[in-house]
Symmetry: C2
Subunit: 414 residues, 2 copies
């Protein structure tokens, strides 16, 4: 489309754009600081309490009690804080112009710390996104911004939450924008999302939070048909994503069918996890970042690890636990990568890394953010291959997602 | 949006998706090979002839003759090959379902080699995109694919052309997709574009082409308000992009006003460049990648280099020369970065790198591809900062582009 304009209007246009940029940089920086500080409080609280509980070998025996308290807190004080946070935020953006009950912020924080510290299998990004979005919504309400602006603030808050949890500012910011409308990146919120993401990442780093950064010593070997293997792995990770999504749905439906109060379900959920941890291993409990780090450094795990982690996570999120789903997805993706590498005799570290981002892409429908994350965490050499596996996983897993409130703005994935 | 499906339909759905993925991987790989081979031929021919002409100190004295021959060739054999190639391809996708005259391929190749080898200031990506798109269109015609499929093939061809010219497979593939519809990444062509991009990059690498890869030894210093400086630089690079776009328009209009044949204009254009090169320096002629590489390694240039390069490029592309616009944009962006760094006493290499991707983002309206390119060329540490400068430059330069055929599918950039 050709643009026609007069000389005087260019100055006016530029001034408007400049003021717009300046205004949104300031707002976004403010949101970034708010979210950075609160994410740090959450992450520190999570770190301390996990350290405390893990002094005891059988800390997870208290899981039923932890789930019970978490579900009681949520039921009593802020029912929006239930389940994994990100989907609730997506729903709020689409249906309520981003309006979020501020009570969600402290409740989600405490409920998630309780859940994860005692061994619930959940992630830390959901609460951060929800806390970020909640604070941004509060900020918009206090200063009486319009509905459209509030929506933008909340998207910034989500991006800021993701960036400061992952430690991958570009992928985090794009993730926040990409999960909202699959197939349609919102260019209009790119700037505030990036600024909020960078600033909150700055703040958490200054306050002492550290992140996974594990560049692979990877040199693709053209003679070994590496690209072909990556393509096949993409199909496998797509099927894993599909199984994961269905597994989450299964436990949600199961929980819905059981005719009991939330608190009783929480006790049942906690008790089931205790039994499963005693039978298999406590490694499936909690965030599981140790396992993720170990696999991307090339260490192996039980071949069925990715399947068991799905069960642990499904029970946690549908039976009283509170928390996000991305850290479990990292675990599932990287251990699925180990399985794939072992079956075909490939390099474990490489396919654990590709699995991590590909299952993320398929399960949350975020091929661009996941591709960028692969470069941010694993370095630029693996990036192009990981990107192809991410896109294939995105397509093969079909029009489903772990976030049921996502809006699909594309008809065909291929 | 919640998805409901029956057990049997999942299998059917997955089979369809799998066949779709497989089919498009094969098509895209084929296009990637075709484009990779022809890009290599073009790049080698360009390399050899440039090496040949540059043996002589005053090789550029033949510029009027080179422009004349280039414009004669285009006028006689394929008038679609005129100007910088990418815009013609964008137009073909939007208006003619990607139909491209196959004569464009050889004509564009020869005309661009003539233009650049004798000192015309133009880029190598436009011809590659046009050659890639032309071959893909021919392929679709021979095998009688539908209009929709042809469009997809042509987009793959563009992406493959970019990937194999830049040597940045992810950014190249996304660039091809992003420039077509500003504000709306086409998720449905992501897979074929990536595969075609990767494969053509593979092929050119195997055939001996090498690329700019210049990781910066960059550690952000939080105490120096680095983010703030990056934000200010983004505004500056946005204004540079705007000046560049207007400069291209100016020379295009000027050429339109002159009442003479294309061939006379070519002689005038070539002669003007000879005079300018003798007055200033021959460094503004040709691709100028030496200057780009030197600046991102921290070397300085004349402060007005970015402005002069705009003039050289404007004359080349509107007065008989053939070629792309991106390599000049790299030159303009990186030397504008040197200017900015010198004025504010900052690190030259860092701001040359940020300038390179930010002016690219503003001038071609590709904030995502440019951000990714910053990581692919300069490493993950500079990435987040470069991304912010890219987005600001994208906004500040307003709803204009060096590609007038781009379709803007967003109303507001902020």
């Amino acid at each position: 489309m050709a643009f026609e304009f007069k000389e005087e209007s260019i100055i006016q246009q530029e001034t408007d754009l400049f003021i717009g940029v300046l205004k949104w940089i300031l707002y976004a920086a403010f949101i970034g600081i708010m979210v950075g500080v609160s994410t740090t409080i959450f992450l520190k609280a999570l770190g301390w309490s996990t350290q405390y509980t893990h002094q005891y070998n059988y800390y997870f025996l208290l899981l039923p009690l932890a789930f019970f308290s978490s579900s009681w807190l949520i039921k009593k004080l802020a029912s929006e804080a239930e389940g994994h946070g990100t989907d609730k935020v997506i729903e709020a953006v689409h249906l309520r112009s981003g309006k979020i009950n501020p009570m969600v912020i402290p409740v989600k924080l405490v409920a998630t710390v309780l859940t994860i510290a005692f061994g619930g299998s959940a992630g830390k990004e959901g609460p951060c996104a929800q806390i970020g979005a909640g604070l941004s919504s509060l900020f918009a309400d206090i200063f009486k911004f319009s509905d459209e602006d509030r929506k933008k603030f909340v998207i910034c808050g989500i991006s800021a939450g993701f960036s400061s949890v992952f430690g991958t500012p570009i992928a985090g910011a794009i993730f926040g924008v990409e999960v909202l409308f699959v197939g349609n990146l919102l260019y209009g919120v790119l700037l505030p999302s990036f600024i909020a993401g960078m600033v909150s990442f700055y703040v958490t780093t200054l306050l002492g939070i550290t992140y996974l950064y594990s560049p692979l010593p990877f040199v693709p070997d053209l003679s070994e048909m590496f690209l072909l293997k990556v393509i096949v792995s993409g199909v496998f990770f797509g099927i894993c994503s599909l199984v994961l999504i269905e597994c989450m749905n299964y436990f949600k439906k199961l929980s819905g069918k059981i005719n009991a109060s939330e608190h009783v379900k929480a006790l049942v959920g906690g008790f089931s996890l205790v039994v499963l941890a005693l039978i298999f291993s406590p490694m499936y409990l909690g965030l599981g970042m140790d396992t993720v780090e170990s696999t991307v450094q090339g260490n192996t795990v039980e071949w069925y690890a990715f399947l068991l982690k799905m069960v642990f996570t499904g029970i946690t999120l549908s039976f009283g636990g509170s928390g996000g789903i991305l850290t479990p997805i990292f675990f599932i993706g990287s251990t699925a990568g180990v399985f794939f590498a072992e079956v075909f005799g490939l390099d474990i570290a490489t396919f654990a890394a590709i699995g991590l981002v590909s299952v993320l892409s398929g399960a949350t429908k975020s091929p661009i953010a996941s591709s960028i994350m692969s470069i941010e965490i694993f370095g630029p050499h693996i990036g192009p291959y990981a990107a192809i596996a991410c896109i294939i996983s995105f397509i093969i897993s079909g029009p489903r997602s772990v976030y049921p409130s996502q809006v699909f703005s594309l008809k065909k994935f291929i």
